[in-house]
């Protein structure tokens, strides 16, 4: 009897300690997310738009994957192509893990970005990138929910009717659909890879 009590007294605290560490949720910032970190994370604003694949594209369809949400437009001549090129490199560096990452490129230019145009444009960078468009009101609602600013301005390129000034950060959504990170424009590729790696591991 005494022996059982002694073993119990030794084992129980160890089990409690193990459980505590196994289920402890360390804030992402403490784990070293290199981009901006939201604490506490909130549910990523949902949307259902016209996808570049020809079907409806909803954020919820990608639960289980880490989603990168980018706001941009195909006629963009500076920020968007640089970011897409960086993300192409990020995918390359992630290797097979990139299967669990999905980029959703939400246009800020519904007047010119049709699903077909988005598909052709994104395929230049990576065939798995998905584009999303919709009516101006639908897109405005998504922008508002993410805190994205976009406005038409006169283009420096006279061949274009107009340009769109827009927020350039990327949003990182974890496998559970929580908005976790904000990646400022110009963040090095290795830092983005690091953060995606961390988010991928969190959900497994």
């Amino acid at each position: 009897m005494n022996k059982t009590l002694l073993v119990g007294a030794l084992v129980l605290p160890l089990v409690a300690l193990g459980t505590h560490f196994a289920f402890r949720r360390t804030p992402l910032a403490e784990q070293g997310l290199r981009s901006g970190t939201f604490e506490p994370p909130r549910e990523a604003p949902a949307f259902s738009l016209d996808g570049s694949s020809g079907k409806k594209l909803s954020l919820r369809d990608h639960l289980g994957k880490v989603v990168i949400v980018e706001f941009g437009y195909t006629f963009c001549e500076d920020v968007c192509p640089v970011t897409l090129a960086h993300l192409t490199e990020v995918y390359r560096k992630l290797g097979s893990a990139a299967r669990d990452v999905q980029l959703i490129y939400v246009t800020v230019d519904p007047g010119r970005d049709s699903p077909e145009r988005l598909r052709e444009h994104l395929a230049v960078f990576n065939a798995s990138f998905l584009g999303a468009t919709g009516t101006p009101d639908e897109l405005k609602a998504v922008q508002k929910a993410y805190g994205v600013v976009a406005r038409q301005v006169v283009s420096r390129n006279h061949a274009l009717a107009y340009a769109v000034d827009h927020s350039s950060s990327l949003y990182l959504v974890d496998r559970q659909g929580k908005l976790r990170g904000l990646v400022p424009f110009g963040t090095p590729v290795d830092d983005i890879v690091h953060d995606l790696d961390l988010l991928l591991k969190m959900g497994t």
């Binding site: 901006g36 604490e39 508002k144 993410y146 927020s167 950060s169 090095p188």
Partner: protein, 134 residues
Amino acid sequence: MVAGVIFTPVVVAAMWPVTFDSREELFEIPKGTWARRMAGEKREILPSEIHLLVGIRNVLMLKNSDDVPQIFGPTLMMPGQTLRIPFTRPSENYFACTAHASGQLVVVVEATPTWPWNRLSWRVRRMLRWLSKP
């Protein structure tokens, strides 16, 4: 005597290492801000330009302590939520921000001044920014 009065602060400003008690530069939307804005009060919470230093003051911390969601800096933040953005390299970062008349928030990240001349010049620039605050 006069030379001593002039040069001593300059020498101290050049030689004294730049330090901060925290790496975080915190900006907070205080509780009740939305209500005060609705009542017509105009008050800037975020400066249009924020200066950080790599390694010693390199984390921008935004906190929404108000009761309603707010677009703060580069994003929409829920009540009680914080956004912590570390910057690891010297850079100029432009964020769209509706809280500013220019529509833009600039975060300038500089290398930590380690040489006397750099420290002096950094302190002079900091003082000028402080003096030009409204």
